[in-house]
């Protein structure tokens, strides 16, 4: 962090902050922005619930509110962002939850920038699984696709140099993964204890985690190399019985070292993608996992403005039993993305993940279209087919769903 250690740089940084707050500036140089969305959502489950303690309703409504407040000054080189999140769910007490997605100060200088506070970071290139993305905890109650994340407290410094970007992360404060309630849909095969997690670190959720990432573009290649040391975002789920012999799963968060690579090669209509990692620290052995594949786009199909993308990815995961379980040990993902390129930005993504061993199939579809300047429609569905009764996904067997979401942006 050479630049930060220079007293001049720190002084300048402080001065610009104070100056920005204290001295009136031209109207264009500072601004306040309030935006966000409120969304109403309905999930439909065609089948009844699998186990008797689960809520059996076929229709499950939910409400989401996410305001976004931004204060910018110093020609937007300084920014404070606040994004709280609230969901109220009719059927799942765990899904009814609030979070601070973002509460951070961002400051940019010529060849470095920094984020202090709660924020979100995404790493990765593939579509079927977010393998190397590790900074933020998954907000699993939001969606089984694991794309929603909880806000993560961080000190982040990025050095932007000719030879690449080097990003340092200090991550104080661990967030436990959220899980659907025991009486809700889309839960695991056994109830998960959500207030009794155990940690390898004696500091438990106050262990400070570290991450380092190097990223650079070399011609058609975009490469990211990263290392993470700290508490695993994935818990092991360890079965145990209470006094009455009822089985449940305890969350166990181990300390891990994870080294990862994400790479994309872009040439013509082809995107070739690879994510790979090696991880050590769970009770099991060090393991290797990777997702690799391509996206090929047919531009302007049928003499129309629409584009059709064809996706294929292979998923491998070599983890053993003493490691957080994954359904993606030896799987194939096939998908198609249709973008109409119309005024409404209509997009459709459909795909299937095929399990080579158990022959399980997860079909998914996502549709999105703008209805008006402020109103957006999303339809999302997942179909769990031929699910192995003793497998990791057995809890989802009866939980195929279709979700309709209307979002009002303000």
């Amino acid at each position: 962090m050479p630049r930060l250690e220079r007293p001049g740089a720190v002084g300048l940084l402080t001065a610009s902050l104070l100056f920005g707050l204290a001295v009136p500036q031209p109207a264009s140089s500072q601004d306040f922005d309030f935006s966000g969305f409120v969304a109403g959502e309905v999930r439909g489950f065609p089948e009844g619930a699998k186990s008797p303690e689960q809520n059996d309703s076929h229709i499950s409504p939910s409400l989401v509110l996410q305001p976004e407040l931004r204060y910018r000054w110093n020609r937007r080189d300084d920014r404070i962002t606040f994004i709280p999140f609230l969901r109220i769910d009719a059927d799942d007490d765990n899904r009814t939850h609030a979070d601070i997605r973002e509460l951070s100060w961002y400051h940019a200088e010529d060849d470095w920038d920094t984020v202090v506070g709660i924020s979100k970071v995404f790493w990765g290139v593939v579509e079927s699984r977010h393998l190397v993305d590790i900074v933020n905890q998954t907000d699993l109650v939001e969606s089984p696709d694991q794309e929603d994340k909880l806000g993560q407290p961080m000190l982040n410094l990025n050095l932007l140099r000719d030879w690449g970007t080097l990003s340092f992360f200090v991550l104080p404060g661990f967030r436990e993964r959220t899980f659907p309630d025991n009486d809700a849909r889309l839960r695991g095969p056994l109830p998960i204890d959500d207030d009794d997690a155990s940690y390898e670190s004696g500091l438990e959720e106050w262990n400070v985690d570290f991450a380092l990432r190097y990223s650079q573009t070399f011609g058609g290649w975009d490469i990211g190399l990263a290392h993470f040391y700290g508490t695993s975002r994935e818990p092991r789920l360890i079965p145990r019985a209470d006094g009455d012999g009822n089985l449940s799963l305890q969350q166990r968060y181990d300390l891990i070292h994870q080294t990862s690579l994400d790479a994309q090669y872009t040439t013509g209509p082809w995107l070739l993608k690879l994510e790979a990692l090696t991880r050590d620290g769970h009770d099991g052995d060090r393991f290797f996992a990777a997702v690799g594949g391509f996206e090929y786009t047919l531009f302007g199909i049928f003499e129309s403005p629409a584009d059709l993308g064809l996706l294929a990815e292979y998923l491998h995961d070599g983890r053993d039993d003493e490691t957080p379980a994954t359904p993606f040990e030896d799987d194939l993902f096939l998908g198609a993305r249709l973008a109409l390129n119309d005024v409404e930005d209509t997009e459709l993504l459909a795909g299937v993940i095929l399990d080579a061993d158990q022959e399980e199939r997860i079909f998914s579809v996502e549709f999105e279209r703008r209805l008006s300047d402020n109103l957006n429609l999303e339809i999302e569905g997942q179909l769990f087919d031929n699910i192995d009764e003793n497998g990791l996904l057995s809890g989802f067997e009866k939980d195929s769903f279709l979700e309709v979401r209307l979002s009002w942006f303000f």
């Binding site: 970071v121 970007t165 994309q264 013509g268 302007g300 403005p305 957006n376 942006f409």
Partner: protein
Amino acid sequence: MPINPQRFPRPVTSKTLLAAPVLGPALLLLVAAGTPAQAETPEEKGLAIAEEVDRRDLGFGDSASTLKMVLTNKQGQSSTRELRIQTLEIPERSEGDKSLVVFDHPRDIEGTAFLSFTKILDPDDQWLYLPALKRVKRISSANKSGPFVGSEFAYEDLLSQEVDKYSYRWLRDEPCGEAAQGLDCFVIERFPRYENSGYTRQVTWIDQQEYRPIRIDFYDRKDSLLKTLTLRQYNQYLDQYWRADDQYMVNHQTGKTTRLTFDAWEFRVGVNERDFNPNRLKRLR
């Protein structure tokens, strides 16, 4: 979502033309001296005019602007987008400019950003930033003829118009027409030399006084007239650089139109290559 600097026609971005230094002072003098020599072929004359357009826009450094994009369909229904564009001039003739587009409206795509490094004949480098996922994605630039955010502007209309992307032919001189009353224009044809263009050719009207594009007719792959772009309300900045605040594209085949209205042009705001780093895309909002 694209947009880049524009060089020759200067539609969206700014930059518009530039780039001649490699050819050396001799040619510059020749061009600067104004009218090309008599023995010129129509191809040489067309190229010389394009180079002069480019030369006059050389040295603007960087520019920033906000713009409103109004898309209207045949039935007259319209929708609006608001965006910010920054362009960084890369002076070498062998390289294109860098541009950055950030969407402010509609709200559901607010913060979405598009970054493009224009090349001459090679495919451009392009990245897209998706704010909901905080994901920066390198995208294919092979869709040059595809519509930019559902508008009548194709990516290739908006991206940097480097001189060497086309070959040229001078057609005639004539009055510029109603878009620039009282001015005389060069009418030249240009033929895309890069791959994946949706056009066989473009016919452009360049005013003889200031070498500004006034009108461009686009001919599709079947050589039928597809679109006409009209550039009006030119203002001059830094005593040199002309920018059209009103750019109106009509699609003759579908009846759809797109109007770009620029606002608040700024030059030499002091951005540099690092502001165009893909890693900075997530920090634009």
